[in-house]
Structure formats: C-alpha cells, structure tokens
C-alpha cells in the first residue's frame, strides 16, 4: 500500500487513452488496456468506463524521454512505464515509454502486463517484494491467456477497496516459498547438473554449489512452455529434457525448446487411454525411462525409442508403498519420489526404499 493510503473516493472511474503506440493495432491496444482494467475490477467493486475526450480519472499516454512530469524515461529498456497514485490532475495517470517495443505477445514488452501493473499504482498500490506478485517492480512476461492475479495483489487491492460483489470470491496463485513445509511439486528434473522443481508457473532452481534456491517464472527461460508442467525428465546422453502436460510433451535441447513441439504423448507409445503423465525419470545407466500414471508405471527404452513390452505394471510391485507419484528424479544413483510433502529415496540396485524425507530437504532450510 502507498504511504498515506491514497485511494479514489468513487468506485466508478473513467479512463482515456490519449494516444496510441504505432507498434500495435489500435484495437489491440484497446483490448490490452480493457483486459488490464478487468484484472482489478474482477476482484473489487471498481468499474472503469472509457471516455474519448475531456478529463478522465486515469489518462493513459505513450511518451518519450522527458515528458515534463519530473520523471523522464530512459530510452529502450530500463524504465518501461510509470503511474501516479490516485488524486486530481496527474493523479492516477499512466505513462508508457514509447521507446519500448510494445506488443500483444511476448516478442516485445507486453502491454497488457505492464498496464495491469501500472493501473495497480493508479489505484493506490505500491510495489510488492513478492517475486510472483504483479506489483513486483521488475517485468516478467506471462502469456496474457494464462494470467491469474496473484493472491498478494488481490489482498493489496482489497485492503483499499474491499472485495468484489461476486458470490464466490476469486483467489490467486501464491508464490512458493522454498522452506514452506507444506510445499509440494508438480514435476522435478535434473538439467545439466542442476535440479529444477516445478510448481504452477514457477520453477525453483537448485545448483549443487549454491546454498540458496533461485525462484523464477518458467516463462522467464522458456516462454513457449505452459505453466503447470506435470512431469519432466532429463536424457543426459542426448542433453535433452522432456516436459509433459496433459497429453502433450515438449523437448528442451540444450537451453531451448526444440521446434515442432508440443507433440502428442502417444508418439512415445502410450495408448489413448492415458491422458497424462504424473512423473518420469530416466536411468542413464540402463537407458530406461520410467513413466508414472495413476497407480501404474511404464518403462521406455531410450535406445530403441519404444515402450518395453509387459507394461504398464503396478507401481507397488516394483517400487513399494510410495503411493501415487507427483514427481520423480534420479540423482547420484538414487531415485527420489515425491508424494505430497513426503519424499522417498529409492535404491534401484537394492530395489527398495532406503530413505524418507520432507519434500523440501534439498533447499537447506
């Protein structure tokens, strides 16, 4: 919240787009701004009406460099935009830096994401230090189709204007905290010596020689990957990582998503009855990859590139009582299975569970 708690006295606000960036179609700019306003009207009693002339509460414009508000822009990069807290005159206004390349997708600076952030300021919010929050100061691209207002931002704006009138109050994603004992994972894989833990639209990156865990948006490294990855594994020999979500998979070659993906998982040999993969790991000593679905597992031969016969089998028959597998990875000869907040260490040589830990044991909590 902003010191002094500035807020609009009315809930029905007006806005006006004073000029348009030449880099986007007018209709796309209008759509991005409308979508950005809906981010806030969806979770509060606020309403926004567009006016075409005269003074509006929130005046939006695209400007270059020094535009006479004592806060000059700085050319491409750096500052992307700014907005003023609620108030008369310049209060509530939003200025976009025309030196940026404004786009409706991730190829340039996404107008929707920046506008939604700046409108947070226009309504009285300041910056959040939650790295997953919309009101975090630095820019992170998120596919507008996938955007969900994080809970941190919902809490902030509702502290100023109250809840929406909706019967069911909307909630938003919460940023994973590495040492939260209730933390569970969607998928885990190794990647060139590091271990990557996936949760929602986030990835927690653990490097063996660094004590702290790095939290990033998946889209920061792989904009083409969706959030909510359900399984992933590394084929060390081919220097590839495969990501799975629903009935599709993507291949990461080196650090980039290979062209032509996603492909259907049925190309790997799954029958059409399989709709998703819950977890996967690959044993580089045997060239066999294990896929986990519901209470069964499949074995895939990476050299023949086909499923082995006689599968699927019951998980419990080979791996013991580990229940449904949320995520799995292999490291230093052991396989680690994650089921909720529990982690099982499996020794493939002894063919049995040799350890049980908390899910967050890798984060030096």
């Amino acid at each position: 919240l902003t010191p002094g708690n500035p807020k609009w006295k009315r809930n029905n606000l007006t806005y006006r787009i004073l000029n348009y960036t030449p880099e986007m179609r007018r209709a796309d700019v209008d759509e991005a701004i409308q979508k950005a306003l809906r981010v806030w009207s969806n979770v509060t009693p606020l309403t926004f009406q567009k006016v075409e002339d005269g003074e509006a509460d929130i005046m939006m414009s695209f400007v270059y460099g020094d535009h006479r508000d004592y806060s000059p822009f700085d050319g491409p990069g750096g500052m992307l935009a700014h907005a003023f807290q609620p108030g008369e005159g310049i209060g509530g206004d939003v200025h976009f830096d025309e030196d940026e390349t404004w786009t409706k997708d991730g190829t340039g600076t996404n107008l929707f994401i920046v506008a939604a952030h700046e409108l947070g300021h226009s309504l009285g919010l300041s910056h959040s230090n939650d790295p997953g929050a919309l009101m975090y100061p630095t820019y992170s691209y998120t596919d507008p189709k996938e955007f969900l207002l994080p809970q941190d931002d919902i809490d902030g704006i509702q502290a100023i204007y109250g809840q929406s009138d909706a019967a069911v109050q909307p909630t938003g994603p919460v940023t994973p905290q590495p040492c939260d004992p209730s933390l569970t994972f969607d998928a885990i894989t190794t990647l060139r010596g590091e271990t990557i833990f996936f949760k929602g639209r986030y990835m927690l990156r653990k490097h063996p020689s660094r004590a702290e865990t790095e939290l990033n948006f998946i889209s920061l490294f792989w904009p083409k990957l969706p959030s909510g990855i359900q399984a992933a594994y590394e084929n060390v020999e081919r220097d590839e990582v495969l990501f799975f979500k629903e009935d599709k998979y993507w291949v990461l070659r080196g650090y980039d998503i290979a062209p032509g993906y996603p492909k259907p998982i049925y190309r790997l040999g799954f029958p059409k009855t399989v709709k998703r993969v819950n977890a996967a790991y690959s044993d580089e000593t045997t060239g066999k990859t294990y896929f986990f679905t519901a209470d069964r597992y499949w074995r895939y031969d990476e050299n023949k590139r086909s499923m082995d016969h006689g599968y699927p089998k019951k998980i419990v028959s080979h791996f013991g009582k580990i229940g449904r597998v949320d995520a799995a990875f292999q490291k230093d000869g052991y396989v680690y299975f994650f089921h909720g907040t529990t982690q099982f260490q499996f020794d493939p040589r002894a063919k049995r569970i040799v350890g049980q830990m908390k899910s967050i044991s890798w984060f030096n909590c």
């Binding site: 010191p3 907005a83 940026e100």
Partner: protein
Amino acid sequence: FPVAPEAEDERKTPKLVESYLQNFYDLQIDHQPRLRSTGENHLSAKLKEMQEFFGLQVNGKPDLDTLEMMQKPRCGVPDIGQYA
C-alpha cells in the same frame, strides 16, 4: 540459462548504481564537496535498502546479483515512498 553478466567495467558501475538508487530509493546526491566516506555510507545504506527489498544478500556492495537486478526492465515508480 542466462548467466550473471560479466562484471561491469569499473567505469559504468557507479553511474548505474547511483542513478538506480536515485530513481527508485530516493538517494539524494548533493554535489557539495563532502567527506568521501559520508557519501559512500549514504550510498551503501541505500544499496542495502534495495538489496533488502529484492531479497538479495544485504552487503551494501554492488555485487553481481545486485547489478543484474538493477539491469532488469522495470516500472519507473520508486520502490519506497510516495509517487505523486
């Protein structure tokens, strides 16, 4: 993965750090001749404030993680105080 940028050459770092802290952490630069140490303490205190906000190692020094954060595209509104 993007690796931390090579250490900026000495010339650019102070300018980058100073203008970032002026823009977003209300660092006041007065150009009176002052004891060098006083100015550095003031800058180091503001640097710690920025490092604290971003959950970086709070050491008051423009280390690589801090410089990397300073070079990320961002909103022009300061991270502390009002913006009216």
